[in-house]
């Protein structure tokens, strides 16, 4: 019981400590690709620390939803964090939910953030919320199909079981359906983390924002929570990709301390590589028009569908 609690708390601490860093690394990498110097990779920590010291200015129109939303969203993301294997396959609370539960916890977080966007009565907020839900609606079918493709491979949506089985398979884990599902899930990750070509995380024009427009009314401590929640969500999505598609090196239950440290290092390496890939994609593409996004996400949908079909073909239906 105590060990389980320790392990859960450790996991939360790792997520919180590491998620701003990965944001910083992505920003730095983008700057590198664009031949800029860019801010330090620790800048997100400074930003959050600064925001936590500042007062929140709130709109005069808001209700309790506006104040509760960041807290609920953050709590939902953190709960999802306890259901996703990070560097070790055994999760103390892993029995409480599976991959689909994780997806719905993210949906809970998104729902409240979008609700809060409407609370201040600003058109920007409404636009952001509307677009966020639009993108989410496009992402969802592809996401579910790629989850199914992965789940088919091991016969379960239990996340620690998936990573355990796949890491035990060695190089055989790289099967055609895994590759196709990976491509699909990578596109989804771009959309879910609000990156180019879906959303521009560094824009300063209200009309082009999605996620940023949604949280436009937040400031100070509340904004810090929202930002930290978004970064944590990004880290969790990267972890999902890392541990579902490249599960090698993840520690299993009962490993010694040195094995755990090694697994943690491998995990960080994987996450950084995914982050660099994101930065490369962001640099090499232009932002798409909102109404061209269905095309992008139907590419993702098709890949996840192909993953399923090729699973059936290869395994001989």
């Amino acid at each position: 019981m105590i060990a389980a609690l320790q392990s859960a708390i450790l996991q939360i601490i790792i997520i919180l400590a590491f998620s701003p860093l990965i944001s910083g690394i992505i920003k730095k990498a983008k700057a590198f690709f664009q031949i800029r110097k860019g801010p330090s990779i620790f800048q997100p920590y400074y930003d959050i620390a600064k925001l936590f010291r500042k007062d929140s200015v709130v709109s005069q129109n808001v209700s309790w939803i506006f104040h509760a939303a960041p807290i609920i969203s953050f709590a939902a993301v953190m709960t999802a964090g306890l259901l996703i294997p990070i560097y070790i396959t055994s999760l103390p609370l892993g029995f409480a939910g599976d991959l689909i539960a994780v997806v719905y916890l993210f949906a809970l977080a998104r729902f409240f953030t979008a609700l809060a966007s409407l609370d201040a009565g600003s058109s920007f907020g409404g636009m952001g919320g509307s677009r966020e839900m639009f993108v989410a609606a496009m992402v969802e079918p592809a996401l579910m199909l790629s989850i199914f493709a992965v789940a088919l491979n091991v016969g379960s949506t239990n996340l620690s079981y998936i990573s355990q089985t796949l890491s035990g398979m060695g190089m055989d884990a790289l099967s055609p359906y895994q590759i196709l599902a990976f491509v699909a899930l990578f596109i989804i990750a771009i959309a879910e983390t609000g990156r180019i070509p879906v959303d521009n995380p560094s824009t300063h024009l209200e009309l082009t924002m999605i996620h940023e427009a949604m949280i436009l009314e937040y400031s100070g401590k509340q904004l810090a929570i929202v930002e930290l929640g978004a970064m944590a969500k990004q880290l969790l999505i990267f972890s999902l990709i890392a541990n579902i598609f490249f599960p090698w090196g993840i520690a299993s239950a009962g490993s010694g301390i040195s094995a755990l440290v090694l697994a943690l290092l491998v995990y960080m390496l994987k996450i950084v590589i995914i982050g660099l890939a994101m930065a490369a994609v962001e640099t090499s593409t232009a932002k798409w028009r909102l109404f061209r996004l269905p095309d992008l996400l139907s590419i993702s949908l098709m890949f996840s569908f192909l993953a399923l079909v090729s699973f059936i073909i290869v395994k001989g239906g």
Partner: protein, 675 residues
């Protein structure tokens, strides 16, 4: 024996409610209280009765001893489950109604409403417990007609009359198909008793079975609101008084689902896999089309009606998957899918009832159901807003509320399709899962719009500005449903064993889930488990910690300022995002389906650069109505005009027709006798 008394006690109390409503017609308040409270008592009895049947023996009672036409009641676990659903809904809705009908005091005839309301519920309970095709059709017809009168209760409005007309026509077409389906059974079994239908189902030829399946699907599907037979639903449900809409959407369409399960599994034995494919496909289409129309709708009650179509679709996806598994000889999977469907059915009854009652409260206090005229209600009616928010979270399937558990189960049962080892069913199950995921996301979109535009920010009209909190009985009624929504979400641990027993009554498999510590339930074959209480607890713990931290570091009062408007003083309701704008991206995305027509009208003052007013109108098209029903209706009408030639107006011609008919009949008899 005590069960007998219970059953007749239920009917007696509803009858008391109905009769007292008529007798006390003159005194509005007393009339409302007696008829609705008596319905609530009957509902309590109904809950006790159905639970005792689910955990005990089936209940049957014969009214007459004849062998050919044997009238009687028969309640097994499946029908008891539906009586349970009816009773729970009726209990909360009746309490709500005592408050809601105050709106009609002095304006409308309360006794009439109370009478119809009680008779409507009796008819639904009798439908669930009828043991004979003739008796079934009588009470089914009673249910349809009474619900028609309830729909046209506010008959002074022309759109209500139109809605009622569409409803009565569609429901009769449905009844016609039900009769056809039953006649096929009767033709084989030689008896009208439902007990013999199952035997008949085993001996029928495959062709007859297929026909019985199709007719039953169309007939009951019309009542359930399955696409493409759904067109009456978005007209009829919004026009009825809100408490009745809650019952119609919450319960009445579920009765049709009950009969579908009864016919497919009990009578026909669910032997053909393609029946499952058809049901699954129709369910998937209903789910996606229902929610797509709901998203762009700005009339609250119409939106809820479309969302009912969606949820019926989700239920049918579960049933279809169950039929596919059952036909492939996998009863364990079949019962998991059936449990998913039943769970969602129960959940939907409750949260949709809650949302319709919420819509009623909004209507009650603002006199509008147009979402564009609302806004800011969370400050005017905080308690209702809280309860409705719970309903919204449940219908969006967000953890840990009730919808989440049933949608999770539905996804898992679709995923279990990989046990089939056949390509086609796997692909169709997975496509259905993808569409279901889209449906879920759009449902979140839709209800986010409903709550966000309707309740948050600033009031958009005078109606919303003068809104008042709903009265106590209404809040109690909604509160019951809201707490049930939460409980069904966090206590699947206790609900699933009950549903297992019910699903076992038609799939024959009792143990589908395993249960573990921390209120966890698991599907053993795919090694997955879910524990919503743990999820809730975790979310709560994190919220608590975070709030504590914020409380500790946030000593000063938060400064309050205007909403950001690029530096302009724009903090008025006219600058808010509208519901139409909010759902515009979806409208653009699916513009081939909606075929939107827009009209804009600009008036200028003095110069072309100064716009005085801007009028925007946007309409979407109901594709199925337009391209499936209108041509048929048009064809029938033009043909019927042609038939007018036989109406000559001369009595001699008419007598001639009768004579001609007689002669043909004679010939028919002679021909039949000679062969």
């Amino acid at each position: 024996m005590s069960v007998d008394y219970l059953f007749f006690g239920i009917i007696a109390f509803y009858l008391i409610g109905a009769v007292s409503a008529v007798i006390l017609n003159k005194k509005d308040a007393i009339c409302a209280y007696t008829s609705f409270i008596s319905a609530a008592i009957a509902a309590l009895l109904g809950i006790i009765f159905s639970i005792s049947v689910i955990f005990g023996d089936t209940f049957s009672y014969n009214l007459s001893g004849g062998s050919y036409l044997k009238f009687g009641f028969f309640v097994d676990r499946l029908s008891a489950f539906f009586i349970l659903v009816i009773s729970i809904c009726v209990f909360a809705v009746s309490i709500y109604s005592t408050g809601y009908v105050r709106e009609y005091f002095g304006k409308k005839n309360i006794g009439y409403l109370g009478f119809l309301y009680n008779i409507f519920i009796i008819s639904m309970i009798l439908v669930a417990s009828a043991d004979n095709a003739i008796m079934f059709l009588i009470v089914w017809e009673l249910m349809s007609v009474v619900s028609y009168f309830l729909v046209v209760y506010e008959h002074e409005k022309p759109e209500t009359r139109k809605a009622g007309f569409i409803y009565i026509v569609m429901t009769h077409i449905g009844t016609g198909f039900i009769m056809l389906s039953f006649l096929i059974f009767v033709g084989t079994s030689g008896s009208y008793s439902f007990g013999t239908f199952a035997e008949a189902g085993k001996t029928m030829t495959p062709l007859l079975k297929d026909l019985a399946f199709i007719f039953a699907l169309i007939g009951f599907g019309t009542k359930a609101g399955i696409v493409p037979m759904h067109i009456w639903l978005p007209y009829a449900h919004p026009e009825a008084p809100s408490n009745v809409s809650a019952l119609m959407s919450g319960v009445m369409i579920k009765i049709a689902i009950f009969m579908l399960i009864r016919v497919f599994f009990d009578f026909l034995g669910a032997t053909q896999a393609w029946w499952g494919y058809v049901v699954l496909t129709l369910g998937t289409i209903s789910a996606i089309l229902g929610i797509l129309y709901a998203v762009v709708e700005s009339d609250i009650k119409r939106m809820l009606a479309f969302s009912s179509i969606e949820n019926i679709g989700i239920i049918l996806i579960g049933i279809g998957a169950s039929m596919i598994f059952f036909a492939s000889g996998k009863p364990v999977l079949a019962s998991i899918a059936a449990i998913a469907a039943l769970y969602h059915l129960l959940n939907h009854s409750i949260f949709k009832g809650l949302l319709f009652m919420g819509a009623g409260s909004i209507l009650y206090s603002t006199h509008t159901k147009n979402i564009e005229e609302l806004g800011g209600l969370i400050k005017k009616m905080p308690k209702s807003a809280m309860l409705i928010l719970i309903g919204v979270l449940s219908i969006c399937a967000l953890p840990p509320f009730s919808g989440f558990v049933s949608e999770w189960l539905t996804f898992q049962s679709l995923l279990l399709g990989f046990n089939l080892n056949e390509t086609f069913p796997m692909i169709i199950l997975f496509i259905s899962a993808a569409v279901l995921a889209l449906t879920g996301a759009l449902a979140a979109y839709c209800f986010l719009k409903f709550f966000g535009i309707g309740f948050l920010a600033l009031p958009r009209s005078k109606h919303a500005e003068h809104a008042k909190e709903a009265n106590t009985p209404m809040l109690i009624g909604m509160g019951i449903f809201a707490s049930l929504s939460v409980l069904l979400g966090i206590l699947p641990f206790y609900v699933l064993p009950v549903l297992e027993r019910i699903a076992a009554s038609f799939t024959g498999n009792l143990e589908s889930f395993t249960f573990a510590n921390f209120a966890t339930f698991a599907i053993p074959s795919s090694m997955i488990s879910l524990s919503t209480p743990i999820i809730l607890a975790l979310v709560f713990i994190f919220m608590l910690i975070l709030s504590l931290i914020l409380f500790l570091i946030n000593r000063k009062k938060q400064p309050v300022y205007e909403t950001w408007g690029c530096g302009q003083p724009v903090s008025t309701s006219r600058n808010e995002y509208t519901a139409t704008a909010f759902s515009k991206p979806v409208q653009m995305w699916f513009k081939n389906l909606y075929r939107p027509a827009r009209e804009t009208e600009v008036t200028y003052s003095t110069s072309l650069y100064l716009k005085e007013s801007f009028k925007f109108e946007s309409k979407i098209e109901q594709v199925i109505e337009r391209y499936l029903y209108e041509p048929v209706v048009g064809f029938v009408i033009t043909r019927s005009r042609k038939l007018l030639v036989i109406r000559t107006g001369s009595i001699h011609t008419y007598l001639g027709y009768i004579f001609g008919t007689l002669v043909i009949l004679f010939m028919f008899v002679i021909a039949g006798g000679s062969s």
